[in-house]
């Protein structure tokens, strides 16, 4: 399974969110999940199973047709943890 964190440029906020995703996956003792980041333009062709982005680009990510985690506050780890839990449960990882 692959989680792709996206932002408009693929190098600022997406990377910062990726750090939190990796941290939470570690806390949850989830293994075998690959996490990467990219720009919006590359998202569709990335073949990822789950996408994460800030709220403003979540609409564009939803068009890909895969689960999307939408974040308003990148520093809010609890919210990210809750959403990750839900998605991983649905995908049968947790």
């Amino acid at each position: 399974m692959k989680i792709m964190v996206c932002c408009g440029s693929g190098l600022g906020s997406s990377f910062m969110i990726q750090m939190n995703v990796e941290k939470i996956l570690k806390e949850l003792s989830v293994s075998g999940v690959e996490v990467d980041h990219c720009d919006l333009g590359s998202a569709k062709g990335s073949g990822a199973d789950v996408f994460v982005g800030t709220r403003d680009i979540a609409g564009e990510l939803q068009q890909i047709g895969k689960p999307v985690i939408s974040l308003t506050n990148m520093l809010d780890q609890d919210n990210l943890r809750t959403q990750l839990n839900e998605v991983l449960a649905k995908e049968g990882i947790l």
Partner: protein, 149 residues
């Protein structure tokens, strides 16, 4: 690494801004002066906002203003300003109080700096002080990771 990028030449407090474009412009002032970016980088950031909305407002009151390396970045650079008055840009994270502007030279060299920055901002007390302090010395100490009271 972060103290090498964010220092008295690239950090300012209580800057006056009224619009989103002011935030972009003021954030770039020191990076232009230091030769980190070409003038066209400013337009590229504005375009990124127009294309994708306010995705760079990534936490309450916080804007990470940036475009891509090929948009006119000459050298890795970062600047940090907090604002005299919050600026509304139409984001759920309004009003913006703190702007960090990033000029990334490639896809990897800024990663250590962003990791350090993230670590700082996750501390709610530090994050709040960065947004509101009117002292440059306090701001610089906070960015160095020194405790301030």
């Amino acid at each position: 690494m972060i103290e090498r990028l964010l220092n008295k030449h690239t950090v300012r407090v209580q800057v006056s801004c009224a619009t989103r474009d002011d935030l972009i412009h003021e954030g770039l002032r020191d990076l232009l002066a230091q030769g980190c970016v070409e003038e066209r980088y400013e337009k590229a950031i504005q375009k990124a906002f127009e294309a994708h909305g306010n995705y760079m407002a990534i936490a309450p009151g916080f804007l990470l203003s940036h475009a891509r390396p090929e948009d006119g970045v000459l050298a890795l650079g970062m600047s940090c300003i907090n604002l005299k008055e919050g600026v509304s840009i139409g984001s759920e994270n309004d009003p913006i109080r703190l702007v960090i502007t990033l000029a990334a030279k490639d896809n990897t060299s800024h990663i250590t700096a962003l990791q350090e920055l993230m670590h700082l901002l996750m501390d709610e007390d530090v994050f709040e002080q960065l947004k509101t302090t009117d002292s440059l010395d306090t701001m610089l100490s906070l960015l160095k990771g020194e405790e301030t009271k």
